[in-house]
Assembly symmetry: D2
Homo-oligomer: 345 residues x 4
């Protein structure tokens, strides 16, 4: 039985980890921390967990965390980098769901997150947890940086095209939309129900923090810099990311060849589902699951290729992908605890 | 391994059964029928099931169904009563999710459903599948009538009060609201998204078909007729029923005594969760689960007692309760396949 | 041209007043105050008002307010009572949308609002602005207390029954549900989109501040105390209140007689629409309007009478009713500025 | 007083015309037709119109329609072209909200709409009703073809860039999303509330009928063919279109110059609102209005320019734009009846 702790468990990725671990037969959650809610039972804050956990939130305590096999950070950026070094020093494995260890180029991280990085050397050593690219390194990782939600959906959509070298890597456009849970569980006016229901808008169109992460990941896949325009939008729904990706074909690749390219690339991936040609994946078809569903098409046979990629931002975009990574790191079946179908309708 | 068939699998209770059986280690779904979709793969119609089922919809065939251990009817009322007699005759166990076998008084059924009943004797023999009342009979049932969604939420809320004899059985009021999935997967104008989002309304306030079912069930519990006013409402959401129940206390029972009454009544029930005093159960806390969460209170210490009861209409209100009944009928652990926490947020 | 000021204009009732005044030919808004947003243009905060107002939020200034003909308070409770006495002293007419002047019995107000009242004598003099009951007093009012949202929908539903003396005044039950805008524009975690979408729950079931206001109003109509059980619920939608009202008939009044009772009571009311028997009013049918739509029925011909009453909580439940009251106070056509049909769909 | 008739008034553009005409002081609706609902009162079908119209739906009758000054077609494509020739022959002015007269190249129309066109010569004579481009011709039009909803939002976003010649006209990408009312008021399974709430998906990504209309309009503005990739999406909300537009700059145009370009182009347009740089227009800010709000930006100062354009699909995207066109055709103030601010929240 793997002993796991969760740091910062009062947010949506925290409760999603708890939901997933309730059905994971190899994991026992031994601690969950929150300064603000210390002493409160997790099922008081999240009644959906009544009957599943007796656990209470506790004040973070390195000694206690160090007794675990793995510690998950479900915290805002800036928190993990302050606590991780000591845990790493004590030999604990760490899976960070925040942005602290995703970017290898420290000045880039510091520019986008507007603070100094506390442990640049760990950032450089951390393994980027996108199993479809890094499965081997993940298996041996001590410090794992889980990808962001947009970066997961967008990279999985562009990877086959870049690896095959069929698109111009400077032509990437990612038009993406996220459910409101992506903004976290924080009492901000512009996240209110009454501000978002029955409305839709873009945000951070001038520059979103996930842009450098995506360009870094796709640059590695491409073997050279890529350039992407990225416009995120806020959907009047709770869970789900839909990425609509555009890029320019460098040569004449047929719809059939594109379909085949995607099917072959992901033939052995348990959590990427290439839909039949002509499909329009719905976000609800992946709700609560670790699946990414993808469709590729070439409208009017012109030279713009379109990819539709959907994930659940809290699952494959955060907590379920963290569990997938943990399964790989601990030599378990990769889909242990991640097998339930989506809740539909 | 229990061989199960589903008749009428293209509706929401059908796909919910498939979702639940995907995680049930003792059941294999061997057939799912639909005249309209015969030949279509279930995962074509419901992409959430891709990778979980290879099954195709087939034309109903009694011989094939008769080879199963259990047949689920997820059909509109009127269908099961035409097909069940032959299956019963061949010794198959039948779990009917429709209204065909819920009402014992045939003239009452025929009045509310405006058609002649095809097999009154089977209706009288059928066991009403509310495990919190009928667990023993369910274990021995060959023909099981699953309760309606509103009847489940409402009966579980009134039962402790009526059994204890503390309320006037002629004073019952059930104000209930359901998510839109309760109306089924049928292309009606007044069920459109654009007709229901950001709006709320009552319906069938003059008389809903679940009224006689509830009064029958509560009458048995009460040992004498009860009278209920029942107003259902349509919520701008997908899943969930919230019942707000009112009745008049016959004697002075304190808030504490009411709380104790409920906790004791349901102490051993795996799927009824009595919340702490002062709680307001949310429908999302039971989404996708077989749980009913209940709170009881006595506002201003007056003589009206209020009960709040929530379920997922497709789960405890239909398919998951059907699985619970099946587990009991086949001697399995009652919560086999029904253990996942709700999807929240 | 009436010069109007709005105190506390950054909330939903503030922006709703601005929306309505944009179409009101007799009113000019000369000031709108907000300490937090002083200096910000109203159309910066509310882009829907771009092109309609050049106004900026300003710090409240009694001298400036005193130059207006009427001052609207769209503030949380407790604010108006601190500022109103001086304005009243200077002869300004005041329309308070908050709860400060609704309750005549000061100890009751102080108990439910948990603070001392700053000007009890003004509270006793204030006119309660429900035009369907108090039209004459409203015309002469200097200080007008606008009814709460629930109290408006609920009182209009019970008034004909109580006035006619056909129901037991101790048997009242009000099961009501409100859109999320009713909770105001404040950054609280439990009002987030991700906490409320696709879910439904009761709140304040043990006692809501609108209860004493409703019992006071209905007591006056009844000519003696009434007793009501009131359970409010939070809907996953933005605007709208739906009240489902139950009471016990004292004598045998037919469905037809009940229908006639309501139609006669409201025959001359421009903003109460009695729907045909058998109707189920939808909240969206009154969205953005000052209308209350009502249906009355007697299910199964039993002795419980049911009333369905819908309003827009921000309109007839707050700002539009405030405009209706202003129209009456200033001798204008009562529906000036309030004539647009609802936005449907 | 202009006498107006509406053909096909049971859909969403029909009821939206009625809503708008209720507040238009120069128009009297004298007939509204529907074969299916002949004899039904409009306020029976649409309770939001109770008190505003006594009108009943009637069977279409050319003689009756010919007595009107203007006839609006709010019908599916194919209907107007069968009835318009006779009305035109009798001298009636016709405003068609359907797609029948939008496309000048008849083979293109016939290919995308999969039927023969009944009156090609009228299609060639019809004036395309985008006032921001065709105001003069609209004033003299007898047959006016109202633009589609997506075409309105998308053309208004690209026009300043194409007119100024700063983008590559073969590089256009339109990623757009619409509320569910855009799909009309028809009882289709995939438009159900339970199918669309809390989910998001693309549709018709391989080719949508609005593509040739947009390419035709932008080609005229550009003075030469344009090429656009267009992916529409279905939003879990009722009203609103959000278009996110991408194109490649041909030369180095600064963010400031782009802003100025848009502000100058639309300086005199009453219904196009260029937002300040850095804005993210929300669909709710135009709900129920004829306004198009636009923002333009150049992310990371790269050579992709992004335009965000929002409209209400039923208003500026259909019925309100039809009223704007009628105002121009009849020499009225262009914003008569179109002045109310959006309903927000």
């Amino acid at each position: 039985m793997i002993k796991a702790a969760i740091v910062g468990g009062t947010g949506y990725t925290g409760v999603e980890l708890l939901r997933l671990f309730a059905g994971h037969s190899n994991v026992e959650v031994t601690a969950i921390t929150s300064r603000a809610e210390a002493g409160t039972g997790v099922s008081e804050l999240f009644p959906s967990l009544r009957g599943h956990y007796d656990l209470k939130f506790s004040v973070p305590d390195v000694a206690q965390l160090a007794e675990c096999d793995v510690v998950f950070f479900a915290t805002p950026h800036g928190v993990a980098q302050a606590q991780v070094p000591e845990l790493i020093g004590r030999g604990v494995r760490v899976i960070d769901l925040s942005a602290d260890f995703r970017i290898k180029d420290i000045p880039t991280w510091e520019k986008w997150y507007a603070q100094e990085h506390a442990c640049p050397e760990l950032a450089r050593e951390a393994v980027y947890g996108l199993p479809e690219v890094n499965r081997e390194q993940i298996a041996g990782a001590q410090l794992l940086a889980c990808p962001g939600c947009y970066p997961t959906a967008i990279q999985l959509g562009f990877i086959p095209l870049l690896e095959a070298g069929v698109i111009d890597p400077a032509s990437l456009i990612a038009n993406a939309a996220s459910g409101a849970s992506g903004a976290g569980r924080q009492g901000k006016t512009d996240l209110l129900f009454a501000e978002n229901n029955d409305s839709f808008r873009a945000y951070a169109a001038g520059g979103h923090r996930h842009l450098p992460e995506i360009e870094q990941g796709l640059g590695l896949v491409n073997g050279g810099d890529v350039q992407m325009t990225f416009v995120p939008h806020l959907l009047p729904m709770v869970r789900g990311i839909h990425a609509t990706l555009y890029s320019t074909l460098k040569s004449d690749v047929s719809q059939e060849a594109l379909q085949q390219l995607f099917e072959q690339r992901y033939a052995n991936e348990p959590f990427v589902d290439v839909m039949p040609a002509g499909s329009h994946p719905q976000t609800r078809s992946v709700r609560g699951t670790n699946m990414c569903r993808i469709a590729v098409l070439r409208p009017q046979n012109r030279d713009t290729v379109v990819v539709l990629s959907v994930i659940d931002n809290l699952a494959k975009g955060a907590s379920a992908q963290a569990v997938q990574n943990m399964n790989i790191m601990f030599g378990l079946n990769e889909n242990q605890g991640l097998e339930s179908p989506a809740l539909l309708p």
